[in-house]
Amino acid sequence: MKNYDVVQHLRGESLFLDDFNLIEGTLFLSVFASPIPHGKIVKLDYEEALNLPGIKGIITYKDIPGENQIGGIVQDEELLAKDLVHFIGHPIAIVVADKPSTGKKALKKIKLEIEKLPVITDPREAFEKNELIIPPREFTIGSTEAAWKDCDLIVEGKAESGGQEHLYLETQSSYSFPVEGGGIKTISSTQGPTAVQRGISKVLGIPMHKIEVDVLRLGGGFGGKEDQATAWAVMTALAAYIYKKPAKLVLSRQEDIRLTGKRHPYSSDYKIGLTREGKILAYEVTFYQNAGAAADLSPAILDRTLFHATNSYFIPNVKATAYSCRTNLPPNTAFRGFGGPQGMFVIESAIYKAAEKLGVPVAVLQKKNLLKENDEFPFGQKAKYCNAIKCFSSAIEKFNFDRLTSEVHAFNNANKFVKKGIAAMPICFGISFTNTMLNQASSLVHVYTDGSISVSTAAIEMGQGVNMKIRQVAASIFSISVNKVKSETTNTTRNANTSATAASSAADLNGNATELACKNILERLKRVAAKELNTEEIDSIELRNEFVHLKGEKTSITWERLISLAYTQRVNLSSHAHYATPGIHFNNKTNKGEPFAYHVYGTGLVQVKLDCLRGIYEIESVKVVHDFGKSINEIIDKGQAEGAIMQGLGWMTLEEVAHSKEGKLLSDTLSTYKVPDLHFTPKEIKVEFMENPAESLAVFNSKAIGEPPFMYGIGVFFALMNSVKAFRPGKEFKFSAPLTPEKILLMLYS
């Protein structure tokens, strides 16, 4: 079924925050930020800037009525730096102007005296200096110590993966208005409206009920607007509160890239032990996460790295340790996969190297160690409805991996300067927020007297089609056309205490809540229909295709008539329902529990062609068998899968977040940070739905789709390694992503 929300997009009529008509008197904000990565503010002189015509004021920490604090998990992030700055781009002051251009001019007139302090950009250096965001985390199962002696082969190594800029096409933006009684209404491009509401409440020192946060839609989020939309929203609320006028802030692309955090770079050490037959007995891994200067979501991301440290494999003895290392970069944050990809990259590197030492194909090792039903993860949960082997075998057979492999060999034998490579990438991704508390949602459903329906939930529409899925849920419960259902903006006054739209869970949680709310109304409607049809057997009443049916027979009562009857009889046509994922729990002292409602599985095959003269390459194909569950909307889910795969491919290849040694971001424009474009898209991209999906806890037995397919992209790294090795057989290379053309050429000729 098509996503009807797209009609407006295609006509350019959908409104994004910067498209709203301006309200008279609107003030525009510009952010004055630290030019150095670490320092002590000696003097801030903004007199000259303040005197420019059109400047209404300059806000510093001194003007904050409440607390100068926006940290989420850890209270370690000032909204506006007081004494110390910890990264380039650390906000210090907000210029409030009558026009955006006036504000920009004023920024250049602000003088800052600052004393430089030592700078750390490398997570291992931060670890050495004990600069940790939270105490170390460790997941264990069995005993690696005891297991090493049973291993025939032990391989050790290091693996590194880089950062990644979200590059949502709509930059961070917010618009706040003062409302009567000293309250604030904020429109924000955020994935977490309650986080914004809480942030404003804390900084302004006013109760949450005085703040209304409203979100229409986002021009992309990918995790970048989960926690990091908050600062900008709070700034506009602060200005609106102080000056009693509407205040707006839209970051320019360059500001957005410079001031916001990215996917966390990781540097990791691994040790893997196997039997001669290729059974993995033990795995030790240490992750050094580059968290940036403040906690942000890093602790939760660190945990997800541990949850996915063994990817789709069963390993009986595991010790996984993780350090969240404080550096002088902007705080890194959520990005599709949330630490999972970083963990999976290391185990795949370890298996690749082990296969090389054993002299067996990587895919053979992968297959031999895939999870089976009831296998235990290092955190105590058992794999249920486990589709790891099913997806892997299906991909290998369906796409004829063996034939492809021999074709690649034949091609490589026939070509001197062009080499191909192919790799398989199985994935396993746990669904639920790993912080159990967050797995709740609410839905408010109104049926109006004309039969049209409005649904309000916590889900934020950011291109993933969640609004459409929720409309489908409501339409399906009432058996009416989806066109009768409208998804409303996400609003903290209609839905309180929302969890961010994140962890691939928005459709699951909010869809389930919507199902409950609709069923409440449906029950009442059935009673109305039963009365009208003079029957006491409520269960014999059914709504089907916009008509009331009695014992399977269509009656003359239409949907509209039924609603009209209900209203006349003073029956409640609204319902608010709350959903909490059942059965999940996790003890973060013992690090054991059942944190996930279910897992998503799949396997992807990636094939590349490398120009060995120039070091440039083409991704020829990506072919995937993915466990979608019973998809609610195949077009949307396929689009999510393809989009996630491309972001994964980008992370492993082109997308290089480059910093100077001094912590200055070098790739801070679209001309220096390259993401996959239309020509980079593989000629062949096939996403097949796994056959016969099992039951799941997701809404209507579907499965979460946002993040899992991202990890297929990791396959391109190993496909490229294979193509390099075809040109330079026998050489060993570092596992360091992304594999840019520069790294490849240096591997080919160093």
């Binding site: 920009k104 120039r614 020509h679």
Partner: protein
């Protein structure tokens, strides 16, 4: 209104005194509230702000895409500007429908730009083909879909033309409902506007702008409030022509015009394919040869090619004229042998004798719409396996667009063999002075130039060298 900008926006005639040097994007979004055109990067790298510009050419209107974020408002004087709002009819048109059917839309922010680019492609009067359609869309970025569904939607549109002998012109596009009916009368309306256009223009100027694709990125904060003089070629003159074995190219020739020039493609086989790697369709439609040369970027693509052609520059300052070789033009990083008042008017080069071979190599992180890490052009004439004339240029390896003088001199009169080639790359390595930056480390750029020089020979003279022994 003292000197208004006069043009047609969608089907409405507009006369505005909005700043002439402001960019079209701001005028559309802020003044007209046409918010379907989006701001994604303000540097011509995402395509969310793409609009179609129609210009009278005889009695027909010629349409092309541009990035409205880099286009001074003044430059749409007497032209037709088409935004997504100007394409909408009842419901969805066939292009929009194809995107909907293929699920080629997610967050929707980039979507209008894609629809605009594909519509402009169909307006370009050629039989739609998938490859060329995708080239025209390569300046549009989508971060959500990964482009696969967009490619399928384009395929759908292209396929709808295969068994169709209908001409591809404005009336046929109107009857196919791809563009609205008002397009039929735009030529007449533009004719009447152009008749009354004030010809005299203010000559006070803070900036002299040709295509503007670089200066509007570099100077974005102050150019909008400055006086800008737009340089354009005289409409009635040919921009590329040959006199007495010499080819003359107007400095105001756009990259698109060079790409499509029969003369230029005759001289340099494969030029069109090479220039596909220059910017995007939107950028190529605005960026000019003169801008590329005067901007003095060390990795400028056209400059690199013209260095190997041993081009001469024709500069003018009022009535004073001066000529010089392109390879003498650069004194240091972004420093030119040119006074601020001098304008580069023309570039010329001798027509290569028959038998000359040419090759162009460019490696960038991303193949398309990216700036080279290193590029190199190669001009060679060989007789009996002896190099008669050779000119090699290299970009990205020095503060200026570099002509590899020492390498070229060394190879002249030499035999093509491994020994000479290995010596040549050694000389090249001494002749260059790359720096480490976001486009690559010194080590990489040195290695890459060596590889690209090898590539010139491997591509053209594989039979004369033992390629494997070089690597």
């Amino acid at each position: 209104m003292d000197n208004p900008v006069h043009f047609i926006c969608n089907d409405i005639e507009i006369k505005t005194d909005y700043s002439r040097s402001a960019v079209l994007l701001d005028f559309l979004r802020k003044e007209q509230r046409l918010t379907g055109t989006k701001e994604g990067c303000r540097e011509g790298d995402c395509g969310a702000c793409t609009v179609i510009i129609g210009e009278l050419n005889g009695n027909k209107v010629k349409y092309k895409t541009v990035n409205s974020c880099l286009l001074p408002l003044e430059s749409v004087e007497g032209k037709h500007v088409v935004t997504i709002e100007g394409l909408n009819r009842e419901g969805l048109n066939p292009i929009q429908q194809a995107f909907a059917d293929e699920g080629a839309v997610q967050c929707g922010f980039c979507t209008p730009g894609f629809i605009i680019s594909l519509t402009a492609y169909l307006l370009s009067n050629s039989v739609p083909k998938l490859d060329s359609a995708l080239d025209k869309l390569a300046g549009n970025l989508c971060r959500c879909t990964g482009h696969a569904s967009i490619i399928r939607a384009v395929e759908r549109i292209v396929e709808s033309y295969t068994d169709d002998s209908m001409p591809i012109d404005i009336p046929s596009l109107v009857s196919r409902k791809i563009i609205p009916e008002y397009f039929l009368s735009i030529n007449r309306r533009l004719e009447s506007i152009n008749e009354y256009l004030k010809k005299e223009k203010k000559k006070t100027k803070d900036y002299v702008v040709s295509g503007g694709t670089d200066i509007f990125v570099q100077k974005q904060d102050d150019i909008y409030t400055s006086d800008v003089e737009l340089l354009t070629a005289d409409k009635n003159e040919d921009k590329i022509f040959v006199i007495n074995d010499r080819c003359f190219v107007s400095a105001f020739t756009t990259v698109t015009e060079i790409m499509n020039s029969e003369i230029m493609n005759g001289i340099i086989p494969g030029l069109k394919e090479s220039l596909q790697l220059f910017g995007s369709e939107q950028i190529r439609n605005r960026a000019t040869l003169g801008g590329n040369i005067v901007n003095a970027s060390p990795i400028a693509d056209l400059t690199n090619i013209f260095l190997a052609l041993n081009a001469k520059l024709h500069l003018e300052r009022g009535t004073k004229k001066r000529e010089m070789f392109l390879h003498d033009f650069y004194l240091g990083y972004k420093t030119l042998d040119k006074s601020p008042e001098e304008i580069l008017m023309q570039v010329s080069f001798s027509l290569p004798p028959s038998g000359v071979l040419f090759n162009y190599e460019k490696v960038s992180k991303r193949m398309h719409l990216d700036i080279a890490s290193v590029n190199s052009s190669f001009y060679v004439e060989v007789e009996n396996n002896i190099i008669k004339t050779i000119r090699i240029s290299a970009g990205g390896v020095a503060p200026i667009p570099l002509y590899l003088k020492n390498v070229s001199e060394f190879l002249t009169s030499k035999e093509i063999n491994n020994k000479n080639l290995l010596q040549a790359v050694k000389i090249a390595d001494e002749e260059i002075s790359p720096i480490s930056d976001v486009r690559g480390s010194v080590k990489y750029k040195r290695l890459l130039l060596r590889q690209l020089i090898f590539c010139h020979f491997i591509k053209l003279f594989l039979d004369k060298i033992k390629a494997e022994e070089l690597l």
